[in-house]
């Protein structure tokens, strides 16, 4: 009996959490048009979550692309169709690896920064101080960070894919001597605008999900050192699970 009650309790709790996040999202979206007028705040956040994540995104993209080139080459050589390497790398990067790995790295690099920053503001009563000055902390602190991250994510994903393609090209064409004409022409024949669109849509949705989770966790963190730490951890864990779940969902929608 107690087990059932516990189960019921945790179910209600998670529903409550989901509802709170959804309401938070609606609130953020409603505040967004006004926030766009103060673009300097958003530009600062694009710099924080986008430009500062560039190095890790580019480095990871390069190595993911190089591994893809190497593994793809070894596999395709068995069938004597190394020329399809460009197609394999481009489709894999643009549709799947670009958005997903970028989102995971983004949650780790920018999401944690957002959550701990807002959480620390909560813990040090900066948010309460703003409220006392009749400044809405959601408008002033949360919305610009959310929008900045949402704008940064698809751009980071595109950069990841391009650097990854360069990595695959580096290994395939420069090291393994796949014909560069075939590499590009087969890729261009096989990749459609639909594929790019799929990757772009995915990265936009992942961006919204990761940023929302980060600012929500930070904003609702318990105002203690432990609470901030917990919010940061939960940001990464929840983002990773949600991104992978959404990825399956979106892929099945697009196919």
């Amino acid at each position: 009996m107690t087990v059932l009650r516990e189960l019921w309790g945790s179910l209600v709790e998670s529903l409550e959490e989901l509802g709170a996040v959804s309401r938070f999202l609606i609130q953020l979206v409603l505040y967004s048009p006004r926030a766009l007028l103060r673009f300097d705040l958003i530009a600062r956040q694009i710099f924080n979550s986008g430009a500062l994540s560039l190095v890790i995104i580019m480095l990871s993209g390069l190595f993911v692309g190089m591994v893809l080139g190497l593994q793809g080459f070894q596999l395709l050589r068995r069938f004597g169709s190394e020329d399809a390497l460009g197609t394999a790398a481009a489709i894999g990067l643009v549709r799947e690896l670009g958005p997903v790995i970028t989102a995971l790295l983004f949650a780790g690099r920018a999401g944690t920064a957002l959550a701990s920053e807002i959480g620390l503001m909560r813990a040090t009563d900066q948010l309460s101080a703003m409220e006392m000055m009749a400044v809405d902390p959601v408008r002033r602190v949360v919305v610009p960070r959310f929008l900045g991250a949402v704008i940064a994510m698809p751009l980071l994903s595109a950069i990841f894919s391009v650097i990854g393609l360069y990595g695959a090209q580096l290994v395939g064409v420069q090291f393994m001597h796949v014909d560069s004409g075939s590499f590009w022409s087969q890729m261009q024949a096989a990749v459609a605008l639909r594929d790019i669109n799929e990757g772009f849509t995915k990265s936009c949705i992942f961006g919204v999900a990761c940023s929302l989770i980060a600012v929500h966790q930070g904003y609702n963190a318990s105002p203690t050192a432990e609470g901030v730490g917990l919010a940061t951890t939960r940001t990464v864990v929840t983002s990773a699970v949600v991104v992978l779940f959404l990825d399956y969902l979106l892929t099945s929608v697009f196919l």
Partner: protein, 176 residues
């Protein structure tokens, strides 16, 4: 002010990079948009085929295994019901005999199709907007298998159904 402006420069650079990456993905990895790196001088010849298989625009054109150009356009001639393929050849290779023949081959087992030119013996050379008269269609795997099965069922009536005999249609393709 100084810090804020460097920050804006950083954000601006990042956004610019992001959009450049998006533009690269949409124009350079797909068949849409303008492709760079194709500059240089070219001339275009056409060839008519009965069947081009799954030849695609952008497929390489090679002669003796050397890449000398690529397929730029594929059309259907609605009078003769034949495929018209435009081949863009590098003008570095402008001494290709006008009676050369064009055939469609497959790269590897699963690779794409490409057009192979074999030199003829004429004294005149192919010029811009010329047509290659001697062509050989793509070998469609289904037809080949159909032929094989037909041969096999015919052969099984006699006492010895040599697999070597049924395999003969494939050998010319390999040696070519």
């Amino acid at each position: 002010m100084g810090k804020s402006s460097t920050l804006n420069v950083g954000a601006g650079t990042f956004v610019l990079l992001g959009f450049a990456a998006l533009a690269f993905l949409t124009t350079q990895t797909t068949s849409h948009g303008v492709h760079f790196g194709r500059a240089g001088h070219f001339y275009t010849v056409t060839a008519e085929f009965d069947n081009i298989g799954d030849l695609k625009v952008g497929a390489p054109v090679s002669m003796s295994g050397v890449d000398i150009g690529r397929v730029t356009r594929i059309d259907l001639d609605t009078k003769a019901y034949r495929a018209v393929v435009a081949l863009q050849l590098n003008s570095k290779y402008n001494q290709i005999p006008s009676d050369s023949d064009a055939s469609i081959y497959t790269q590897g087992l699963l690779g794409g199709k490409f057009v192979g030119l074999t030199a003829g013996g004429a004294d005149t050379y192919l010029k811009d907007k010329d047509q290659i008269d001697f062509t050989q269609s793509a070998i469609v795997l289904e037809n080949l298998i159909g032929q094989l099965v037909a041969n096999f069922t015919k052969g099984s009536g006699s006492s010895d159904a040599p697999p070597a005999k049924s395999a003969t249609p494939t050998t010319p393709e390999k040696t070519k």
